[in-house]
């Protein structure tokens, strides 16, 4: 038996254990998990033959020595709850530690009366089975991580469901914290947001590690379904420790005249793979996709995006900015796909990389696939460094070199941070970026 088979076997017995430990009702849920695990086992590991894994460090993706399906004892839950404080004002919150709920604040009675659902996946399986059946994992992963999406489906047991009924507008954001706490933990953050016609919701997801030393494996999925004329605003702050291996498979569907905005702030993980698929299915929809990443040491942040325009008169805009230090590496691979008939599409895609070290590596693969003729599409990618003139200007004003560089990088990211809809969220994003730089100072 070779190494890979042994690995499959250990995950396989972990899955059996996971299945036995969890509730067997409803049956569709258990069946779905079994099918997903089969799919996971049958799909190959990422390899060089797959264009979606071009430039990625394939050797870094080893998942067999993490503990799957274990329920570790969460010792210092109070400390974690204390630290889960990126938003002072919110509509509801959840704190998960190694897949287990350690704290929750439910939605206000007024919202619940209007039909807003804010609950864990476990509760949703029990009480909103029909809804979940229609929406759970209904957006196919198609940017390379099909195997890991299947693994997620097999092992996922917690996460949040946010359902906002027709016409309901929720002002304050919902917030969910996913903590990796024990060594070798395998965690599966899941965020599912459904907004019905003309409703509005904001959600913030934070992914943090309890300490700097213990490595973890995080395999998260976020699916957004924006119904006709509705608005979803989603922000992810990913600040796992630099021992962690992370996958984040995100996808959203924008219906007619819907507005979807997603923003990610990625600073953590040893190796992080993020996939974002914006599916524009309704005419007149508008989708914004923002991301910023700061890397150092030998981190790798691997970003794959797809903007699929299936309907006419829709617009999408993507801006991904990366700043790289030390021997770190980033990959941006983005595609705008305009289907036949999606006329009057307006789609943009921009990737900007700032190289702050002579050993850093930035890869950029901006792509276009256009099958309609009456469109405006463009992409731009630049990779450069801080101009000597800019540093000189600051040096001449008594600002030391490393500080000058820091300030310029903060300025570089303001374009993304400005897009975060919430001021305290923006402050937290700034703080995360700054602490990353100060760590190296």
């Amino acid at each position: 038996m070779n190494l890979e088979e042994t690995a499959e076997k250990s995950i396989s017995s972990a899955f059996e254990k996971h299945l036995a430990a969890s509730d067997s009702t409803p049956s569709w849920w258990t069946e779905f998990k079994k099918d997903s695990f089969e799919k996971f086992s049958s799909l190959p590991m990422p390899n060089r033959k797959n264009e979606y894994w071009r430039f990625s460090n394939l050797k870094g993706i080893k998942i067999d020595d993490y503990s799957f399906g274990e329920h570790a004892l969460i010792e210092d839950a109070y400390d974690l709850i204390e630290r889960s404080s990126i938003l002072c004002q919110h509509s509801g919150s959840y704190v998960f530690a190694d897949n287990q709920t350690v704290h929750m604040q439910q939605a206000a009675a007024e919202l619940r009366e209007k039909g807003v659902i804010w609950c864990t996946l476990r509760e949703a399986v029990k009480h909103h089975s029909e809804l979940l059946r229609d929406y759970f994992m209904k957006q196919e992963a198609d940017l390379g991580s099909e195997k890991f999406a299947a693994l997620h489906s097999a092992f996922v047991e917690n996460g949040v469901l946010l359902y906002v009924p027709k016409g309901v507008e929720v002002e304050d954001p919902f917030v969910v914290y996913n903590w990796a706490t024990s060594a070798d933990a395998a965690i599966f953050p899941h965020t599912l947001v459904i907004t019905e016609e003309f409703s509005k919701a904001q959600i913030v997801e934070a992914q943090f590690s309890k300490n700097e030393a213990d490595r973890a494996f995080s395999c998260g999925v976020t699916h957004l379904f924006a119904g006709c004329g509705s608005k979803i605003d989603y922000t992810l702050l990913q600040d796992y420790n630099e021992q962690t291996l992370g996958f984040q498979i995100n996808s959203n569907i924008a219906g007619k005249d819907a507005t979807v905005k997603t923003a990610s702030v990625n600073v953590g993980c040893r190796q992080y793979r993020s996939e974002t698929h914006g599916r524009i299915k309704g005419a007149g929809a508008h989708v914004d996709m923002y991301s910023l990443a700061v890397t150092d040491a030998d981190q790798e942040i691997d970003q794959r995006t797809l903007q699929t325009h299936s309907a006419a008169h829709a617009t999408s805009n993507l801006l991904f900015k990366n700043a790289l230090q030390d021997s770190s590496k980033t990959i941006f691979s983005g595609l705008i796909k305009v289907d036949e008939g999606a006329q009057q599409t307006d789609a943009y895609q921009t990737n900007r990389n700032l190289l702050l070290s002579n050993k850093a590596e930035a890869n950029s693969l901006p792509g276009l696939e256009i099958e309609a003729n009456d469109v405006k599409c463009s992409h731009g990618a630049t990779t450069a460094q801080i101009e000597d003139e800019e540093i000189f200007y600051m040096l001449a004003r008594g600002i030391p070199r490393h500080k000058a560089q820091e300030l310029i990088v903060y300025g570089f990211f303001e374009e993304i941070i400005d897009e975060l809809s919430n001021e305290s969220l923006a402050e937290n994003a700034r703080r995360i970026i700054q602490s990353k730089f100060q760590k190296n100072a």
């Binding site: 033959k49 797959n50 264009e51 071009r54 430039f55 036949e340 006329q343 990389n353 190289l355 702050l356 070290s357 002579n358 050993k359 850093a360 590596e361 930035a362 890869n363 950029s364 693969l365 901006p366 792509g367 276009l368 696939e369 256009i370 099958e371 309609a372 003729n373 009456d374 469109v375 405006k376 599409c377 463009s378 992409h379 731009g380 990618a381 630049t382 990779t383 450069a384 460094q385 801080i386």
Partner: protein, 469 residues
């Protein structure tokens, strides 16, 4: 306008003529070691060439098709139904008078009149596998410039040829470069000695004239220190029912301070698979410029590249692609920076008409420890009809904080306002469209040698005729 713009009628007959074929040598259909034995025997090649070919054949057989990233249309190539070697007469003609009349007539239709020869420094035109005639103007020959068919050069100048042969593009680079290395015949070989500036462009026209017959020419140009040369190639081919394969390998070596400009106008009939590997090495202060126009063929896959090996070397690719119904122009550029202060520039413009598809694939690579490297890439695509299609797939890798890269691409259509404006002033819709399209590529065609820019303008007008109205 969109209603009228869906119907496309293109006159494909302009290159659609053929003459009776009579081939003294014919290696038959299919590819095996026997085919290679045959080619070597007929050509009387040395053992090292035969070994080179046999080794390449094995590489070709082992390599998979690049269909994991490239179009599935490649699978329609049936390698067992292709003739790999044909030749009319083994020795290249040196004298215009010796050129057979029907060949002369072919060139006449292609627009190479006999008197043009006087302007051109030398002419090496390929009719099927071997050069139909080759003629170098005396003055250029006196400067020490060697311009001949690659078969002839292998015999006469192995000391120069062998040193660079297969060094820029190794046999195993890709499946089609391996195929070419196994069965190559024809193509040009140019050596420009130190400091010689060839004032007139060297030119070769290629043409396929046998059904099911692939052409595998091999071109190698070496510009020695401080020399300058421009090479032009243009192709048209007659139309046939079954697919024809064209798989060339072109290697350029620009030594210290040399300049090479390589111009291609490709107008194969649209049953031709045109799978070409083109790459240059630019040494210190050298400049290599690829000018590439793709109008014809069923599927073209061609990504001219420059390895910028010496300090301050510069690489440029200027390309225009026009994809009409049943055509896929899959073109691009590769810039591999391998020394400090090297610069590269890629400008690509594509036009998709009817159900045509054009694709840009690019690669820019800047490894670490380099400084002062710069790349600029611009890709613009124009979509004429509702079913036209375009793709852009660049890949950019930059290491280190002393280099910079910028890439931009845009896709648009001809604005209805522009067409309306011109129609108000008495132009027909087709004329207006043709004018707009020529305007779109104008800033690139200006960079081309004069005669090519005129020829290209004419070709675009021809293609756009009947694309609307």
């Amino acid at each position: 306008m969109s209603d009228t713009a869906t119907e496309i009628h293109v006159d494909r007959d302009k290159g659609d003529f053929k003459y009776e074929e009579s081939h003294k040598y014919d290696a038959g259909v299919g590819l095996s070691e026997k085919t290679i034995d045959y080619i070597c025997d007929v050509k009387g090649e040395d053992d090292w060439i035969k070994e080179f070919r046999l080794k390449a054949l094995r590489v070709f057989e082992d390599k998979p098709m690049p269909t994991n990233w490239a179009t599935k249309d490649l699978e329609n190539i049936d390698f067992d139904k292709i003739r790999y070697y044909l030749a009319g007469d083994q020795r290249a003609k040196k004298n215009w008078d010796d050129v057979p009349d029907d060949v002369k007539a072919t060139f006449e239709r292609l627009g190479i009149p006999e008197n043009e020869r006087k302007f051109l420094a030398g002419v090496e035109a390929q009719f099927d596998s071997e050069a139909a005639y080759s003629n170098i103007k005396e003055s250029v020959g006196k400067q020490g410039v060697i311009f001949m068919g690659s078969t002839e050069a292998l015999m006469k100048h192995p000391e120069i040829f062998k040193k660079w042969f297969g060094k820029v593009i190794p046999t195993g680079d890709n499946k089609f470069s391996a195929l070419n290395s196994a069965v190559f015949s024809g193509g040009s070989f140019i050596y420009v000695p130190k400091g010689v500036k060839v004032s007139h462009p060297l030119q070769a026209y290629f043409r396929i004239n046998a059904e099911n017959f692939g052409q595998f020419e091999r071109t190698l140009i070496i510009a020695d220190e401080g020399s300058e040369v421009t090479y032009m190639e243009g192709c048209t081919a007659p139309k046939f029912d079954t697919a024809t394969l064209h798989s060339a390998v072109v290697e350029l070596v620009a030594l210290k301070g040399a300049k090479i400009e390589y111009v291609t106008v490709q107008n194969w009939a649209n049953n031709v698979f045109n799978l070409v590997t083109k790459r240059a090495i630019a040494h210190e202060d050298a400049v290599v410029k690829w000018i590439d126009c793709n109008i014809g063929s069923r599927l073209t896959m061609k990504y001219p590249g420059v390895v910028l090996k010496g300090k301050r070397a510069r690489g440029e690719v200027l390309s225009i692609a026009l994809a009409n119904d049943a055509q896929h122009q899959d073109t691009g550029a590769k810039m591999i920076h391998a020394a400090d202060e090297t610069t590269s520039n890629v400008i690509s413009k594509s036009i998709s008409v009817g159900e045509g598809r054009s694709t840009y694939r690019g690669q820019v690579h800047m490894p670490k420890r380099l400084k002062g490297c710069k790349n600029n890439t611009e890709c613009d695509a124009l979509l004429i009809n509702a079913k036209s299609r375009t793709d852009t797939y660049p890949a950019i890798t930059v290491r280190g904080d002393e280099n910079s890269v910028q890439h931009e691409a845009s896709v648009s259509k001809v604005s209805a306002e522009q067409i309306f404006y011109m129609q108000q002033r008495g132009l027909s819709e087709a004329e207006a469209m043709s004018l707009s399209v020529n305007g779109f590529v104008n800033d690139l065609t200006r960079e081309f040698p004069m005669e090519y820019s005129v020829e290209l303008k004419r070709l675009i007008e021809l293609e756009m005729e009947g694309s609307v109205g």
